[in-house]
Symmetry: C4
């Protein structure tokens, strides 16, 4: 019994056995398909044409993930630790909405929560290769966080200032009906998205916008510069090869190609 | 009396005591809330619903900042230096508009000046950690300034040239009513904002636009490249560890791990 | 006969003889002109004005490329290897559509396939200089692939999440008619394209959009940082000069300027 | 006489005397003001209000630049070399249009040529500091040219392919009236400009567009990466300090701080 639990644990939580990898791959497909169901159900023509199919699929995936959830709790050596972990909460949140929908009227709110099911996709990060690569990126992001915060502080101040200025320059008829609305316009402009739903009409407004665009165009270089430097460091340190130390005389050999210690002739590891 | 002044100075201007940090954090919240008041007051539905609240809040923050302003003048060892400093002027500008509004009709102009209150947010830079990070960015920006100026010179020339060209190619009916208008369009295009309020209509105009877009898409790489190089340098030199100097023979030890001077055997700091 | 085949092989497949380079340059022009024909034929006014010209040109280029295709098969030492190679398949696909068009009604589908003719342009990569440069870029792209995949995974999850959220926040009248439609909007926004065909209308929608834009504006730094690091590595290793080795004592000279071995005095290659 | 010519030559062409720098600064202002005149003249309300002023200013600047042009020819030691140089041609082109306008009807074409006057602004590059900085950028651009050409080849092929595909997917009613029109749309999309004058309407079209946007969003990283690497190299080599060589024993001292040769004790330059 205990052995069965251990074997199941290795299959469900581990990725070091063929069965474990297989379980993860099947799970990933199930997650993707369940998300696809939610997405397609939102299309009116589909929803009207196949109402039963979507209801069936939703319950199919919910029961599948419920079984998986309880299996995880049962096989984990310390169930409570799993339940309160990041993935434990995500796993629960991906099945709850359907059950809650039984008791209450199907609300729009539940649909959003069901979108959390998508977060389970990050389980892919457990799959070897991707884990390493994402760790390099996360490490670079963490290191550059303080600089990015300063940068965002400057951008937000700029956007608030531009928004207030344009609210005063352009009259309310031109779409700049309030400062929050103008701030929305400033963000649309600074980030170079440029929907065009609100655009400057007066000559002065166009001049200010032009300056704002050129600023937005230039300062995009700042986060890129910050991240490039940190990614460069993170990649370098992840590539850094082990240092060779002679087992008999403790000499540190800098040459990675050396096979014998050049001080005492001992074979290096 | 003198001692009270010194204690207050450390609380108001310094960040090295718990009381000093507390004062700064409360001040930051007051600034943020006062800015929020200005922003929300611009929304018509709010302004109509709570006219008294906004008037009260404006006077509340103005008096608060006035008290703070006089406290700063009184406790500073050289008051005139503070008054003429960057933050001194900003602090004055953030309270003046409300008082001027008493004597003159409430004009839109005053609202903009009140937006300057926002600049006080930069006081956050005094808070330890962020100061260091922003210094790295400012130092990188300063070093790359001449290159950025050259780059902007090229962009402005390009935009002027494109504007003139498009003014001639597209007739006035297509929105290109004057060269300044065309330059506005060129900036919207080159910076990849693309509102769509003015867009080329003729075949030749579309061709020229396409070339302009591809140019804009490529040259965005130039400021990014410049800044990345300078940020990389600034980060490196800020990370550079202190150099070890032997206290007895003044030998400069390059190896950061060394614990004893290899010339005279003295223990290194 | 065998010699003629070899000479033709060097002209058609090689670029190391003047005739071989000449053949490639003529071919490139033919490809460019044939693509231009397809493009111009799609313009109604041209198609109506010169119907015969376009039909003639299409057959002219098809026959030209057919002759080239058979010459390649005949002169290649292992014809089957060429036929199943990347360029072999592209070459076949660039002539097939016109012949198929004889038997079936001219369908729109064939036009797309004829666009594949364009892929033959990549033959330019065989021309000396460009081959080297593109290899550096391809090598950098290959090395950063796993990181780019992780990045795209995050972007797609973000876009799906934003799409679902906006579908719920904005009502269907505002253009967000289904989750796929909302995802389309999210991609338009995150990539800073911003057509403006769908734009948020409600206050909450505008707020969420603003956050999405600022995120999109920042994370563009991630692939740039990744690629810059890898291109930097690829350029460095492609620039790495050959190492000097003494022909008599096998000493490895690190100084690229050295002309004589500093161990035994032999002249270095 | 000869001496006057030499003095004038140093003032007009040189920047190493106070008079020479003064001449260049006045000239730059004259160029900027003359360009401003052309720009403002295009605004209908100004043109109608002050017709005489614009005509006067145009002749004023033309005569000023004509005098400057002949002074340059007269003082240059080899006049023909100046006339056929890049700036010689630009200088001529900036005065010719006004004279041609006397004989022919004022055509729109002449206005464009007058925009060339703007190119004279690049004379600023002669001014010390800017020259050095722009040389670093130009050198980086030159070195990365082949890679940028390969990149543009890929972008153009992609745009042509996308244009053809969308022409077939979206019907002509949706704005994709011909392949050139579709290519224009593809460029607007890939470069993330996104005017919105043409936008996909069908579901398949929106899907293809989404993929195109994500591609455009990613490949912008390629030129940035290329340029960053080359700018980094160019900056480094421009910063590279001179190498110290001992004047008596020719020892190459790598340490920039050394004041005496460590081999023979001679003082280093």
């Amino acid at each position: 019994m205990q052995k069965l639990k251990q074997t199941l644990y290795r299959i469900i939580f581990g990725t070091d056995t063929p069965a474990g990898r297989g379980f993860d791959v099947i799970l990933l497909w199930a997650i993707l398909l369940s998300v696809l169901t939610v997405v397609l159900e939102s299309v009116k023509s589909f929803r009207v044409a196949y109402p039963g199919t979507f209801q069936f699929l939703e319950w199919f995936f919910t029961i599948l993930f419920t079984v998986e959830y309880f299996l995880r709790i049962l096989t984990h050596p310390r169930p409570w630790k799993y339940i309160t972990s990041f993935f434990g909460i995500i796993d629960l949140m991906s099945i709850l909405p359907t059950y809650i929908g039984l008791f209450f009227l199907r609300s729009h709110f539940l649909l959003t929560v069901r979108a959390f099911r998508l977060l389970r996709i990050f389980r892919i990060l457990k799959l070897g290769r991707y884990m390493h690569e994402s760790q390099v990126l996360i490490s670079a992001l963490k290191k550059s966080m303080y600089k990015i915060v300063v940068f965002f502080g400057v951008v937000l101040t700029l956007v608030l200032f531009l928004g207030t200025l344009m609210y005063l320059v352009e009259s309310e008829q031109n779409g700049f009906t309030s400062i929050p609305q103008s701030i929305y316009w400033a963000i649309v402009t600074i980030t170079t998205v440029g929907y065009g739903d609100i655009a400057p009409v007066t000559v002065l407004g166009k001049f200010i916008s032009s300056v704002a665009m050129l600023i937005g165009y230039s300062i995009i270089a700042v986060p890129t510069g910050i991240l490039t430097v940190e990614i460069s460091d993170a990649v370098k340190s992840s590539k850094q090869e082990r240092q060779l130390v002679c087992p008999s005389c403790s000499y540190h050999e800098p040459d990675q190609e050396a096979r014998f210690c050049k001080k005492c002739g001992s074979e290096l590891e």
